[in-house]
């Protein structure tokens, strides 16, 4: 490879002579540049984080006290449904795609993503899908409110969906196409665009985890698309897939949904693992402990994620052999997950650690994600899950795996790479304040939900029995603090983009980081085009341990 663009054709030459961004707003609409598209994804995800967060505030406000205070029950259910959909498909997944766009080409020495036009389309399909979904909020019959899992027969009842169902189904189709395009692009980029000097086993773990995540996406997004398509035909075209009178079975929907749904939760956590494995060694000033075992653990978690889905259905009715199989298979996932937690800890062991904001968030991730994993193990025990299922216990479980894990790591990634992307340093004091407020309030918010669940409070209800009042109030207070604290993050992002502390950042930004990964050998801020010629030497500090 010598230069990025070849001029062959006079007819198009005017387009290709121009290597910088287009002028004005149009730049962002027609861009094919991986950094521009990464920025679009990240800003969109941040916006959706606040939209989904506002819905969560509605939920916590209603649950502040027993009784019906602010919203009617149908709207409350719309909020739980839309909160989950917006956070999963609008915030967490797109944020990681944004990171992938920015980082993967820079980390593997590629000039851009392999299929830049498709990259642009992935982003706009995402926006289109979310808009289609959000449009239901404005309809007189309201947004979908049967839960983000869309279980039939509930979701097919007129009272629960109103006019929202077809919009939700088509939104899922668009989001699915968007994710599949994004995943294909990532796979082609990693396999085909890597600097010749970088072997697979030299790749930073963030790249590895995204490669594996991309395969998960291609393998399960069509499954979700198929499931909702059958909902649509059952509702509007007289089919009987989920209708026992016609020989179908509503439980089939649950099987299909969770065949998608369980890998889906790993789609949100594997890139999280990748970022954590990238940040921790830099601040521990040590190579990552057990690079190769990290790669294998990621691969085996991905593999197992396909064969454990029915742990979401223990109480639904399954043959005993099924209950046992899904129980043991689920518990096996804890082994590679444990390997990872051990490796992160061992990376920090005797490291020359410093505690800048990205590291603080990463350490909190290791601790609090482990909490979520442990409650997962508890629920994996089928007989115990009969008590936990559909209670606030599971709400606590998955929020520990998603908020102080995925979301915290996304924040860490923001603090870690913003100086590289913008060339400006963020305000460390406010960053630390943001961290401590978040880390404390997230526990006030979610820890009491374990107690509520164990005591039997069901999820997805706007009102509750009086004995649940105290812990709900505590949880809501934690929620409000957590929600407000995130405004600090918004402030920091805007402030850093606009100049931050004014301090000049070096190419490395973090001491020694250029030994870990390629992007730190590029100037800060990174130029619009990077690696137009591939690097000849790649840093291998991160894999030292396995060579």
């Amino acid at each position: 490879m010598s230069a990025v663009v070849a001029e062959h054709d006079d007819h198009h030459a005017d387009e290709h002579h121009d290597h910088g961004p287009a002028k004005g707003l149009l730049r962002w609409i027609i861009t094919t540049n991986h950094k521009d598209i990464g920025t679009l994804y990240l800003l969109f995800a941040l916006a959706m984080f606040f939209v989904g967060g506002a819905m969560a505030m509605v939920i916590r406000a209603e649950l502040f006290e027993p009784g019906l205070q602010f919203v009617d029950p149908a709207f409350f259910n719309s909020m739980t449904t839309m909160h989950a959909l917006v956070m999963v498909f609008g915030a967490v997944m797109p944020a990681f795609v944004g990171l992938a766009n920015w980082q993967i080409p820079m980390m593997i020495g590629a000039p851009d993503m392999a299929l830049p036009r498709m990259n642009n389309m992935s982003f706009w399909l995402l926006v289109a899908g979310v808009l289609l979904l959000a449009s239901t909020l404005l309809m007189e019959t309201g947004a979908p409110n049967a839960g983000w899992t869309f279980y039939p027969p509930l979701v097919l009842q007129p009272i629960t969906v109103g006019k929202a169902l077809p919009f939700a189904v088509f939104a899922v189709h668009l989001l699915g196409i968007s994710s599949i395009m994004g995943a294909i692009n990532i796979i082609a980029t990693i396999f085909n665009m890597r600097a010749p000097s970088m072997k697979m086993m030299d790749m930073p773990l963030f790249v590895w985890t995204w490669l594996i995540t991309a395969f998960l996406l291609i393998a399960v997004m069509p499954v979700f698309a198929g499931a909702v398509t059958m909902l649509l035909t059952d509702k509007f075209f007289h089919t009987s897939f989920f209708n026992a009178a016609g020989g179908g079975d509503p439980v089939l929907y649950q099987h299909i949904f969770w065949f998608f749904g369980h890998p889906e939760v790993y789609i949100m956590i594997l890139p999280t693992f990748g970022v954590a494995s990238t940040i921790i060694p830099v601040f521990a000033r040590k190579p990552l402990f057990g690079y190769a075992s990290m790669v294998w653990a990621t691969g085996s978690i991905a593999f197992f994620s396909f064969i454990v889905w029915a742990h979401h259905m223990f109480t639904v009715g399954m043959p005993m052999a099924g209950e046992l199989y899904f129980m043991y298979a689920t518990m096996i996932i804890a082994v590679p997950t444990g390997v990872k937690v051990f490796n992160w800890t061992a990376t920090m062991w005797k490291g020359a650690m410093t505690f800048e904001t990205p590291m603080l968030f990463s350490i909190a991730f290791v601790v609090l994600f482990t909490m979520g994993g442990l409650t997962g193990l508890m629920m994996a025990l089928a007989p115990l899950d009969f008590q936990y299922h559909d209670t606030y216990f599971i709400v606590a479980h998955f929020h520990y795996t998603l908020v102080p894990a995925s979301i915290f790591i996304l924040m860490a990634a923001g603090y870690f790479w913003l100086p590289k992307w913008t060339g400006h340093m963020y305000n460390e004091k406010i960053g630390q304040l943001h961290f401590w407020l978040s880390a404390i309030s997230v526990n006030i918010l979610f820890f009491p939900q374990h107690f509520l669940g164990l005591a039997g409070m069901p999820r997805r209800i706007p009102d509750y029995a009086i004995q649940f009042a105290d812990w709900n109030m505590v949880s809501s207070i934690g929620g409000f603090i957590f929600g407000l604290s995130q405004l600090l993050f918004l402030y920091i992002v805007i402030d850093t983009i606009r100049g931050g502390t004014g301090e000049k950042v070096t190419a490395e930004v973090w001491e020694g980081s250029s030994n870990h990964s390629l992007e730190w050998t590029l100037p800060s801020p990174v130029p619009y085009h990077t690696w137009t010629t591939p690097p000849t030497v790649v840093p291998t500090e991160h894999v030292l341990d396995s060579h």
């Binding site: 062959h8 054709d9 094919t32 540049n33 392999a114 289609l132 294909i184 085909n192 897939f241």
Partner: protein, 284 residues
């Protein structure tokens, strides 16, 4: 094509956002139509579809032009092939969902409905046999589709089209343009013939066999699987027509013909899915 040309990175893409706008307009219209809007809904659907088709024509024309003027080096070709390969993989998964549904229904849910307490307490007269429209006799009496009429003929048609497609490919590789074009004409013709026969079959089912999408779970799985497949045959035949048109215009070289390869892969994929359908939907 020359090896020293760099990886081509396009700038300023306008088609993706146009295509997205078309697609979302079409789907919003369809959703409105399903909710009972008979004017706005269809209007949006048509408008969206038109924009989407314009995008397809525009985008693919651009790609063909870039390919023919030698802007894609070997590596770009690899990226495209990977893209197509994993796209087909995602399509395989999509079909697998419906095949699994058929399996689950036949072997599990219908059996459960027709045995044990469910049968005794709820519908003791129900016999768990296949084909079935369930204990509720949903959709009324129907006749199942036999494998040995049109479906068998269609199997022969699709298999032959796979052969003619490969023959055309050999023509391309041997720089025999005549063979390439003839092979493609035969392939496309067989493709559309298949679709026509399937239309006859559906007509027959609806008008004289009482078999509809509403015929319980048999009708649902039958039409869902064969319908999505038929749609893919249409798409494949259209793609092959475009490839035929381009071959006739003199496009493609033995070392540079990604579009042909992609179309051929897609066609073989559609072929294999049909074999699965023939066995699991019609035969068994």
């Amino acid at each position: 094509m020359s090896t020293n040309v760099a990886y081509y990175i396009p700038h300023k893409a306008t088609w993706p956002v146009i295509g997205t706008a078309g697609l979302v307009t079409m789907l919003a219209g369809f959703a409105n139509y399903l909710n009972g809007s008979s004017s706005v809904g269809p209007a949006f659907m048509v408008a969206g579809l038109v924009v989407f088709i314009i995008m397809l024509v525009g985008w693919f024309t651009l790609q063909a032009h870039e390919s023919e003027t030698g802007m894609y080096n070997h590596d770009v070709g690899i990226s495209y092939r990977m893209g197509m390969m994993w796209f087909i993989f995602s399509e395989i998964i999509f079909f697998a969902v419906f095949f699994s549904t058929l399996w689950y229904t036949r072997n599990l849910s219908v059996q459960w409905l027709g045995s044990g307490a469910t049968k005794e307490l709820l519908h003791s007269a129900y016999q768990a046999t296949w084909p079935t429209n369930g204990p509720g006799d949903v959709g009324g009496k129907f006749e199942p589709m036999s494998a040995w009429g049109l479906p068998f003929l269609n199997t022969l048609i699709l298999l032959s089209s796979g052969v003619s497609c490969t023959w055309a490919h050999h023509g391309l590789l041997a720089k025999n343009r005549d063979q390439l074009i003839k092979g493609l004409i035969v392939t496309v013709a067989l493709g559309f013939l298949f679709v026509m026969f399937q239309a006859f079959e559906y007509h027959e089912a609806y008008t004289s066999m009482g078999l509809t999408l509403g015929s319980g779970v048999y009708g649902s799985t039958f039409f869902m699987l064969t319908g999505f497949h038929g749609f893919h045959v249409c798409v494949g035949a259209i793609i092959l027509s475009v490839v035929l048109f381009r071959s006739w215009k003199g496009h493609f070289q033995p070392e540079n013909h990604f579009a042909f390869e992609a179309a051929a892969w897609y066609w073989h994929f559609v072929d294999v899915v049909w074999l699965g359908l023939f066995v699991f939907v019609y035969l068994l």
